[in-house]
Symmetry: C2
Subunit: 879 residues, 2 copies
């Protein structure tokens, strides 16, 4: 038997989502439930995949099945294409597995032509009917030309305007049936002029071409972008639904509407929606008429209303979730056109999940699965006041690098940010790009806007870590730091001018936009408690300061998975000591400078341990190349030389000797500890002394320090640095006369570390996957430079998602799995975690659960997301 | 039974090299052959490994075995440690599996103390014997103190000078027995002063401490460097030989010498060597007396000579190879102290291998295995005149980046190099670092000297490819380009001054040193013919010009494995068109610029195809980031802007937009073809048209173009670019009305390409492993930046060899194997090659053979090396 590609609505059901798409499956399910659904058929997603495989043609076997389904549909509806008495009109709509509203194409009123129009009019005595028919006809020509034949819809508007002008009116409503008929003729003539052939009048041709167009629309640019943002695979394809038309615009006894079974903003259990009398779906969307609240239908058509309410709650109970439905009333008869799980705000999502459990419809597991972890972001960050935002003008947009809303005065340097912040001003830091030297200024700012850099640029990573809003990579901006302004879209913005950033959407506003604190509902705690009780993996955070650590703990972090020590060397006089260390010409001089840094570093760790109250903390030793700590501008170099009491030439020699062609792949990570073991000695001393001191003051904390050596590619590197660490630590512990357990482990972020993980594991107490660098090395591109070509990669569907945001399971994930397997086999007690950006991405968290990691670590604001994602992964595994 | 760590010479044999080291195994073998060998025992290499595993102590079980062996040795020799009548004196020498001459430590005359000295004197009536005994004693104190106790040998010389001064002489020979005895006393006093304890007088203590010192010397810096240069694994360890002393300096009837069974410089079959009467081995090495040619021994001690000649040729026949032997004559009796395969020049190696076959001693397979492929280098490159070299002063040394000898006038810019070269001057180009813009200047130079960059820096890679001598990474040089000089070692070298470079040793000379052309002997062809008949893998070359291609073919290349197209865009007006292409603001403008480049590129390919006469050529499409083609200096930018008819601001905007943080991981390779498919179209057109034209003129060539897409990390990238290539190529072929087969394949140089090689293989006709980049990505360090830390890695034994020179089989090799396996499984006809630098490294070539590659491709001068290495791999596999 030939493979089945086409299903009548009465052949499918709600479980066939993958094959029939969401819309098709639900139409079949409603049919099965006995609800009034205009009948038709669904061309499956497999047909779409074959369409592309076959070089964008519909194969003959599928065409035959479509024809057969059409015949059956004609039988069921009692109408026929081009029939003189009962001509069939249909809609052709896309419907993929996941909801992608507005991304693909739809064609209504298909099946009409000159003869059909006449038949329709002949069959209806209503005097207004002729106008309705020709209006439907001209709409079809416009839609078909636009979607199928690439004759843009708006180019037809000129003709409409000409006719209106001739009639001396500017309102559609003033046009007569004759005017509409004239419009149809003119549209067809225009079409012929454009395409060189007659407008297709055969309904079957119209249908096949429309199905092809819907298939093609799966690959249009806006669909591609939407899929990437929503992690929908290109390979899924879309189904196409061919459905008999019903007309809400037939007369005053007709109408159309949409409704939710609960309030999608608050989650409250109340029927929520709106409708229009004598209108088609298009009109509700277009917003030319103001719809009525659904409750009013109760007054206007009580029987229809009761019937609809009955269906609505039957559907909610059936699907056990809040439903979003479309309906049409044709001459007093209700038709259900669509039902689906409704989109909702995070507040509503939490309330609905909790309420559904309390109503006994779903269990806790199901409730935990119902909320999209990514949505939790919105709960934790300040937001723009919606009214204010609607009125503000977008002056530019770039990457939504760190979510949130920020408003403040423009500053162009980190110093200015700090100064103005201390003076009580709210500021937005605008920079070409940021560097570790800017940290203080970044922390002082409400938001950060950069000209260069991607989603994982320095600015983006640090901002997300700090929970500060950031828009990055706005290449159109030209900064003139000397004169204190930047230009964007031909306008100048001076230091001190107000701008606002929407880090969730990536938009830039040229004015102050009011913000409001996000409100957390009471359902959040109950919901997260359920989630926490389900998950196997622990959730830690990436934090370098006591403030960040505290914030993360408030959000539920169970420890620190990545404490980057380099950020600790930038404040105040520390940077001076750090630079002394770097320019030191002998081991002794280097040790002397390190001795000055020790008390700072130790003090920082003590503060951190106090905040953590016994929760674990993985401390990563110095990682970036040393040149990051040195100035680049001539005047700064001069000043520093003076400060360090060396000549400018000497300092320049040091800077030149530290120059690197590819700093990402340079003298950094454990390579620093191999060349300068005294740095590792100092850092070990700081960690161990801090733990000893805090353990003394708070014996109940029982701190077990975790020291992490970065950038290992060969076990002998780890062995060498570990020997330095243990020699130093064991001596300190013995001298202090205390008992102190400590762990030494490594970041796994170099492909070779994964390939040789069995050897590495023998020297490591833990692995922490640094998937940022691992992604860079595995793909062979730098996250800071990839922006120049990644857009082209998305456009060409070479990449479907940003591998720095979503872990590439095929390549990078294969290395992670390999390292986990080899590592566990060689060292069964090996502790496994992830501290790359991916630790806060739900699909990546699920992957981490599947491969058996013990914890994920992410920026403080992503902790709730990771908690929920980890819980969902556990539940899915159990199913 | 306890594991055996110690072997008497009469317990072993020549096959036990791994366990006993080369020296120990051969001493055992000579013992077995009944030759007069002073007896003793060997502490095995396994004991050395345990010594390190146990924390640099000799375990008790091994000590017990040493004591037992000593006892047996005493029995065999009839002498005993500290015996009153027959005291035993021994030598303690290292002996590893591979010969490492001079790298580790030796102690002679061990076993002596005050009492033993007296006993020895008492037992000998010769009046000169007392002086001999105390001279031996003081030598032992010096050697033991130096090697075992870290009291440097030369610090004892002060005492010797004092005594000489007191005696009013400057000659050792004038010192009496009493003087020697006084020296012994003073040496012991000095030792006590330095170490705070008496000089050890117990022979057994002396021996154990000496064995430990020899074990420790395995890990000394010069041994580590030697091993790295000769690919000897650290894990092998060294054995220690304890052997009864015999004394060539006993009297005028004694002597010592070394000899080869054939001339190690020419290979001629004639006993070659020298000896000294009344001398110890030390004296021959020290060169204070001029030794006599071995033939003279025939006159002086005809019986001893005949006995030695007999042993020598017995040993050669036994080992079937030229032997290098040490012997000592003690009071008229001959002792054999060592035999080993002798080191020889490449000319000698070839002649000996061929002669041994003709003499029926070995077969062709064995002959092919006998020559070190790396030695072939020396055959092909000009060399310094040895006399001139001996007289010249080394003013600096750095990395031996590209072998050969060069002498010429200093030039500091590529332009100057070209200009002077055209004026008939020989020049050495001295640069901070080189870039593709310098190519013409590099080709015009005799040699290249750079301040920055490692063994695989641009300068090094290009120089090796061109067969030009290069010394790179000499950080001590300071260049002052403006004033036209550089400084090194406190001296100025002006443009026009003569310097010389030894690219094989890495030395720099501050003067002109005469060079001579290398001579190729008649044995080379015969030998390489044997080699070629053995190998399975093909050998191709990396060449971008007809000249390089011709050179490589002359050296036996069977095609081009890597033709880099970017080098073709630098000459003359091409660079201008290239830059027009880069600054183009629209696809049309870009295509217009590309159209100008097309004829150049097509012409280049036609020339190449003509030289190749039907041999295959893999053409790699544009690879480097575009900013490499743009100038960086302000004045050059200004000039270019004028030339391109755009403003300096516009040009600077382009340059800024092309800036990359990590160009190695930036917008390059196939990423360029994805963003600018028109580049791939132009390059395809050039390749296909060239093939069509040359095939027309020379139908016998039957050219099948091979197009290689670089830097693939995801199969969809390859698919995208391949679609561009095939669409373009198929149209050209159809338009030309010819038949033309062509291949499209990819470089495998990104870890992810290896991990997903099954998918990639489905779209590829061939894989060519780009192991340079693959090594960088797998280790996560850039070859240009790794110089800053690799030295520390070698010192700490983290790395034993340069992974850019010798393929890292553990990590990178694992990815290569994975790609081969996955690729072959998915696409059994997949053609497999390597075009990274490793294609010319013998051990890497062997690896390529083992994993099943079809060919290796290397720089022209390495083609013979690769041919021989490939042959050896085949032969080894067959054994």
């Amino acid at each position: 038997m030939a493979h089945k590609y086409v299903y009548l609505f009465n052949e499918g059901d709600g479980s066939m989502r993958e094959l029939l798409g969401g819309k098709g499956a639900n139409l079949a399910e409603m049919t099965k439930l006995g609800m009034p659904v205009p009948q038709g058929f669904t061309v499956s997603t497999e047909a779409c995949t074959r369409f592309y495989d076959d070089g964008k043609v519909i194969a003959d076997d599928i065409l035959a099945q479509i024809d057969q389904a059409l015949e059956q549909m004609e039988e069921i509806t009692g109408k026929k294409f081009a029939d003189k008495k009962n001509p069939l009109l249909v809609s052709v709509r896309s419907g993929s597995r996941a909801s992608m509203p507005g991304m693909m194409d739809t064609i209504l009123n298909l099946g009409i032509n000159d003869d059909v129009a006449k038949s329709l009019i002949a069959g209806n005595s209503d005097p207004s009917f002729e106008r309705f028919v020709y209006d439907s006809y001209r709409r079809f020509i416009q839609m078909f030309s636009d979607v199928v034949m690439e004759v843009p819809k708006h180019t037809f508007e000129v003709i409409i305007d000409e006719i209106k002008a001739a009639r001396g009116t500017s309102e559609d409503a003033d046009l007569t049936a004759g005017d509409m008929k004239e419009m149809v003729e003119k549209f067809k003539a225009y079409y012929k002029e454009q395409k060189g052939s007659d407008f297709p009048s055969d309904p079957r041709d119209q249908m096949i071409e429309s199905i092809k167009a819907v298939f093609r629309s799966w690959d249009n640019p806006r669909a591609n972008v939407y899929r990437r943002m929503n992690d929908i695979p290109y390979s899924w394809g879309t189904a196409v639904n061919v459905q008999a038309m019903v007309f809400g615009n037939l007369n005053e006894n007709s109408g159309t509407g949409v409704a939710f079974t609960r309030d999608p903003a608050t989650g409250e259990k109340v029927l929520f929606g709106e409708y229009l009398i004598n209108a088609q779906g298009e009109d509700v969307v277009a917003g030319t008429r103001t719809p009525n609240p659904i409750s009013q239908l109760h007054e206007e058509m009580p029987e229809v209303y009761d019937e609809f309410v009955d269906y609505a709650y039957k559907l909610e109970e059936h699907y056990k979730d809040m439903q979003d439905m479309e309906f049409t009333i044709e001459n007093g008869k209700l038709y259900m056109l669509q039902t689906r799980s409704g989109k909702r705000t995070v507040a509503a999502a939490l309330k609905i999940a909790v309420d559904l459990v309390e109503e006994g419809l779903i269990d806790e597991d199901e409730a935990v699965l119902r909320v999209d972890p990514k949505q939790l972001d919105a709960l934790l960050l300040p937001q723009f006041d919606q009214d204010a935002l609607d009125k503000a003008e977008i002056i530019g947009s770039a990457l939504a690098a760190s979510p949130g809303a920020a408003s403040g005065k423009v500053v162009l340097t980190a110093e200015a940010a700090v100064k103005q912040h201390n003076a009580g001003e709210k500021v937005i830091l605008v920079r070409l790009e940021t560097s570790p030297e800017d940290i203080e200024g970044m922390a002082a700012a409400q938001g950060i806007l950069t000209v260069r850099g991607g989603m994982t640029s320095h600015a983006a990573v640090v901002a997300r870590g700090m929970g500060i809003c950031c828009v990055s990579g706005c290449g159109e901006i030209r900064i003139n730091e000397a004169e204190g302004y930047f230009e964007l879209g031909g306008k100048k913005y001076n230091e001190g001018d107000h701008i606002s950033l929407d880090g969730t959407a990536g938009n830039i506003y040229g004015e102050a936009v009011a913000t409001v604190e996000a409100t957390i509902t009471g359902d959040f705690d109950k919901f997260m408690h359920w989630a926490d009780s389900k998950r196997r993996m622990k959730v830690r955070t990436n934090a370098d300061t006591p403030q960040d650590a505290q914030k993360a703990i408030d959000f539920g972090a169970e420890g620190i998975g990545l404490c980057r020590t380099e950020h600790m060397f930038f404040e105040g006089t520390r940077i001076k000591n750090m630079r002394e260390m770097i320019v030191a010409q002998s081991v002794e001089a280097r040790k002397a400078a390190l001795a000055k840094l020790l008390p700072y570093q130790q003090g920082d760790f003590e503060e951190m341990y106090k905040v953590l109250k016994g929760r674990p903390m993985t401390i990563r030793f110095l990682d970036p190349p040393l040149h990051e700590f040195l100035p680049t501008k001539a005047e700064d170099i001069e000043e520093l030389a003076k400060e360090l009491n060396i000549s400018v030439d000497e300092l320049n020699d040091v800077i030149t000797s530290l120059h690197e062609f590819n700093p990402m792949m340079g003298h950094r990570g454990c390579r620093l500890a191999v060349t300068y073991p005294e740095i590792a000695e100092m850092q070990t001393t700081a960690v161990i002394n801090a733990a000893i001191n805090v353990n003394k003051a708070y014996p109940e904390y029982k701190i077990v320090p975790e020291i992490m050596i970065p950038l290992i590619g060969e076990v002998k590197e780890l062995k060498f640095v570990k020997d330095v660490v243990t020699a130093t630590a064991d001596k300190l512990i013995a001298d202090a006369g205390v008992e102190l357990e400590y762990l030494v482990g490594t970041m796994i972020e170099i492909p070779r570390a994964c390939l040789t993980a069995d050897a590495v594991a023998k020297e490591a107490d833990f692995f922490s996957f640094g998937t940022n660098d691992l992604t860079q090395m595995t793909f062979g591109f730098s996250r800071d430079d990839a922006g120049n070509f990644l857009d082209a990669y998305y456009e060409e569907n070479i990449f479907e998602s940003d591998p720095f945001a979503r872990l590439d399971q095929t390549g990078v994930g294969q290395l992670v799995e390999m390292a986990v397997e080899l590592g566990k086999k060689a060292h069964p007690e090996l502790q496994l975690g992830i501290c790359g950006e991916h630790g806060g991405d739900p699909s990546s968290v699920e992957f981490c659960h599947e491969v058996g990691l013990d914890y994920v670590s992410c920026s403080p604001f992503r902790v709730p997301i990771a908690r929920l994602a980890a819980a969902q992964a556990s539940i899915k595994e159990g199913k």
